[in-house]
């Protein structure tokens, strides 16, 4: 379903010195500390975080769901000002790319690109579900496998299986709603009210678990069947 799987990869607990196989910039003795602005808007409980290397300096919850997507801009300005930073200080942007709310994901990705463009700063993305999985793995030291899920269209959910060492295992799946907690019986299902957080998007990025993929994760293709018209010019009845 997603060509980039594997890229977000087994990074949750990869030791830092092995992370060089990933392309995320890393701190070295001579490089100034990397300041990152992380964005996570795959659910209505969105948020922003500032990280200096892998340390979260400040974070803010931003209820920018649906029609309030533009509140992200004021929230970003406030968060930076509160930390005594400006956009010029930010060296990289890390964005959660879903799965989740299309509007939130598109607006946050595009905002990051807009902030990054003039100085050609890097914009990195990671799946929001992987960020949530990383957070839960940190909370539950005994968990080996987790399932992160969310609402899809009527009566269905999407779900992804994550291993502590392996990262995401297999593809995203679309399941009937009543399969929640049933599929992958050995894995712990993350409570549906837990939303991914920007802090963990940032941490995942700093651990090297991000890619340059520019699009949100879409579990539904933007596809409709081509229209067909009968000989009289009328559209044919639906299939």
């Amino acid at each position: 379903m997603n060509a980039n799987r594997g890229r977000e990869a087994a990074v949750f607990f990869v030791p830092a010195r092995r992370a060089k196989i990933f392309r995320a910039p890393r701190k070295t003795a001579r490089v100034p500390r990397m300041k990152t602005l992380a964005l996570e808007f795959s659910t209505d409980a969105g948020g922003l975080a500032l990280l200096e290397d892998a340390r979260v300096v400040a974070a803010a919850a931003v209820a920018a769901g649906g029609r309030r997507s533009q509140e992200l801009f004021a929230a970003a300005a406030d968060l930076l000002a509160g930390a005594g930073w400006t956009f010029a200080d930010v060296g990289a942007f890390a964005v959660g790319r879903g799965p989740g709310s299309y509007t939130g994901l598109r607006v946050s990705l595009t905002a990051a690109h807009g902030w990054a463009l003039p100085e050609n700063k890097p914009v990195w993305t990671t799946s929001s579900a992987a960020a949530l999985a990383a957070e839960i793995f940190a909370e539950q030291p005994d968990a080996a496998r987790l399932v992160v899920s969310g609402a899809a269209r009527r009566g269905t959910i999407w779900a992804g299986l994550f291993g502590r060492r392996e990262g995401r295992i297999g593809d995203w799946r679309l399941l009937p709603e009543d399969a929640r907690g049933q599929a992958w019986p050995d894995a712990h299902w993350v409570a549906p009210d837990r939303a991914p957080r920007a802090e963990w998007v940032g941490r995942l990025f700093c651990a090297g678990g991000a890619s340059e993929e520019r699009q949100p994760i879409y579990l539904h293709p933007a596809v409709v069947a081509a229209p067909r018209f009968g000989a009289d010019g009328r559209p044919l009845p639906p299939a």
């Binding site: 299309y102 509007t103 269209r153 933007a222 409709v224 069947a225 229209p227 639906p238 299939a239």
Partner: protein, 147 residues
């Protein structure tokens, strides 16, 4: 609660629009209204009646080019026309998600059966059928959601 169905007869476009206006007063915010009927059955005419009752002052045409037109009035109206998309229609693939589940006003969808699988269960349905000899006479069937 069961869904309820009501059959009414109108004799002119004006009567059909008056019926739409009465229905508008009944529709809660966020209501999704599916319009069914052949080409020329008067679906757009019905939406025009709805729009007027919602306080929309701009003329309302068919959003065939963009699929979706939004109007501001005393209450917001989103007018969706799926005439040119057929089969396998997935509301998510069309960009209708925000309208079906997050729109604050009234959403009226022509040819809604083309995304039947994606529609919420709480949809309202209106079927328009030509009746008798009069060019504008219609049978209007209104199906209200349960509860």
């Amino acid at each position: 609660m069961e869904r309820t169905t009501e059959r009414l007869e109108t004799n002119s476009a004006a009567e059909t629009q008056a019926l739409a206006a009465r229905l508008a007063a009944e529709l809660p915010d966020g209501a999704v209204l599916c319009l069914h009927g052949e080409l020329g059955a008067g679906k757009t005419c019905f939406v025009q009646g709805l729009a007027k009752a919602l306080g929309v002052r701009r003329p309302v045409g068919s959003p065939t080019f963009t699929l979706i037109n939004e109007y501001k009035g005393q209450r917001a109206l989103a007018h969706v026309d799926l005439y040119r998309v057929r089969g396998a229609g997935d509301a998510f693939g069309l960009g209708l998600e925000d309208y079906l589940f997050r729109f604050g006003g009234i959403v009226a969808i022509e040819w809604a059966e083309r995304v039947a699988e994606s529609l919420p269960e709480t949809c309202w349905h209106v079927r328009l059928e030509a009746r008798g000899a009069g060019e504008q006479a219609r049978t209007v069937t209104i199906e209200r959601p349960a509860g």
